[in-house]
Symmetry: none
Subunit: 190 residues, 4 copies
């Protein structure tokens, strides 16, 4: 006895994400979500109390995705990067557009901001664990592994941004170069 409600809601959320990414915040309308999901606007309100609630549940679902994605990533750091590159940058401009859109919405929406903050922190922590396994200790004195993980996370986000804005951004090349940097730093630390 599968829960039809749960499925329906998940489908609505998926439709909402697609709308948010394809139409942009300004055109993120409930009518558009309804059409995308193939239901009426009333149906949306049967499942979500308000429009903001949809945004919140979108983030929550991202949050869960993010957690699972990153918790798996306790192998080698470079693999994380490449894996991220593949799963998030190359294929998933979608994911990052959604992510940045929600960040910007969060600027003026405390609840959403909080959730984004949680995601960021958990990403930083995941990267920290990965770095610990990879490097054991920081290659540069005075720069903690925590800081390195924050830097790498920031770098990922910053690169994602350039990918999204610059049409012909050669992300693959940059990941190869990043790999070299990580390796060189590792050897520096020994």
């Amino acid at each position: 006895m599968a829960k039809p409600t749960g499925i329906a809601k998940a489908e609505l959320l998926t439709a909402a994400k697609q709308c948010l990414v394809h139409n942009g915040i300004e055109k993120f309308t409930l009518k558009a979500v309804a059409e995308q999901a193939g239901v009426t606007q009333g149906t949306i309100y049967y499942h979500f109390k308000t429009k903001e609630q949809i945004l919140l549940e979108i983030i929550q679902s991202i949050c869960e995705d993010s957690w699972s994605e990153l918790s798996v990533a306790s192998k080698e750091f470079i693999q994380i990067a490449l894996q991220s590159a593949k799963s998030r940058y190359e294929n998933n401009v979608f994911y990052h557009k959604l992510y940045f859109t929600l960040i910007v919405i969060g600027f003026n929406n405390p609840s959403i901001k909080q959730q984004i903050a949680d995601i960021l922190k958990s990403e930083n922590e995941s990267l920290f664990k990965a770095l610990t396994k990879l490097w054991e200790k920081s290659p540069i004195e005075g720069v903690s592994l925590e800081s390195w993980s924050i830097f790498f996370n920031a770098l990922m986000d910053g690169l994602a941004l350039q990918v999204m804005v610059l049409e012909d951004f050669p992300i693959d090349q940059f990941y190869e170069e990043l790999e070299k940097i990580v390796i060189t730093l590792y050897q520096l630390g020994k």
Copy 2:
């Protein structure tokens, strides 16, 4: 040819920026801009053809700011970073909120996206020039100075993001650590 209108227009643009940052995209209303500027909505239409035109002119003004800011920055790279830190992160969360907001708007607005792309490119170039002066050559073989500049620019943006989302982000500490990294890499390259 005195330009009294130009002045008024600049004030409207300032008001518009404040609205965009303080109200967020969703509540970026011409009524709000008018109130912020202390004029009526009609007045705005005397100066701007449409709402989108305001956004475009906002971005153009940022563009000019960005150029001037970065063209000055042809001294030492670390100083750039610290200067950026001071002028943009610490004091200017405002600037970065505006910047990221426009990026996200750009996701679904080609004209704005183009301008954002131009800004990004010119920032990359400015950083490249600065790095050239600072490092002369790349500290790691196989990683071009162009790539380093892109990495640093991405890092800046990514850190800015964390500053804006995480309330208690110790940005100062990170800049000190970044300085150490830059210096270490420099010595590595000699």
Copy 3:
């Protein structure tokens, strides 16, 4: 023929009355009624054909209450007044809010208006019977006992109105004074 449904229906009606009084006409929603009754909206439609049907049945139930209440009241007039005061004004602001609400709904709803009219008339008649027993004849020539009964009924309603609107209305005091008036008038008529 047990009527389990009948009981359920009565409960729904009670819930509906509470909603109508506590939420007001404007928020008199089937969803609210359903929640109040602890059932789903669908259940309401099992028992009532439409929303208006609920209102009609509410009024019918009041009608029955009213009749029984007043038919008992064939003793002394003053006792009626005091009894009314106790059962309707002091404790039963609820009853009067419901009553006035339905009157106002009746302004634009012929079926309801008709029922309200019936209630009013039967109240007038009951008061007339009571007055007949109490006074035998009118204390003032040219003013029929029918008129007196209408006046007293109007007075009751008007006082109820003031009770409901004025927070600190000393209804008890007024009933004592009313009693004096009734007695004085009675002696006047002898």
Copy 4:
């Protein structure tokens, strides 16, 4: 230079009152008001912040009417009654429907309730002044003139109610009888 705005707003209020009376609370929609006034719904929102604001301003205008109406009425009490009868009951079922509708809305709306309370109190006071001139002292010991004025006000409202609900209510006849009562009571007091 007449104020066109003021006039426009007054016209909107008039239209709103007509809607409220002719359509009833349940159908008191902004669309209806707009159509009645011959403007678009947007226009209404240019003049009134919300729908509730319209109701509040309706009451305020009634309040002003009521004050002026009653302050004039410092002549003879019976004339007040007749005058009221003429201006309010016979011709102005409209006025009373509006009045009772607002009272019922006030049951669940504190701001409106407060204004209704103010109106009631000022009516009571006006009647008290009129009674003082007419009777000088109370015809029945133990019943203050204040109480008499409240009773007469309640009586007026209660009769108005019967007029509105009972199609063939002979209000004229009742006013004549009321006049006899007032006169008889007056002589009783001498």
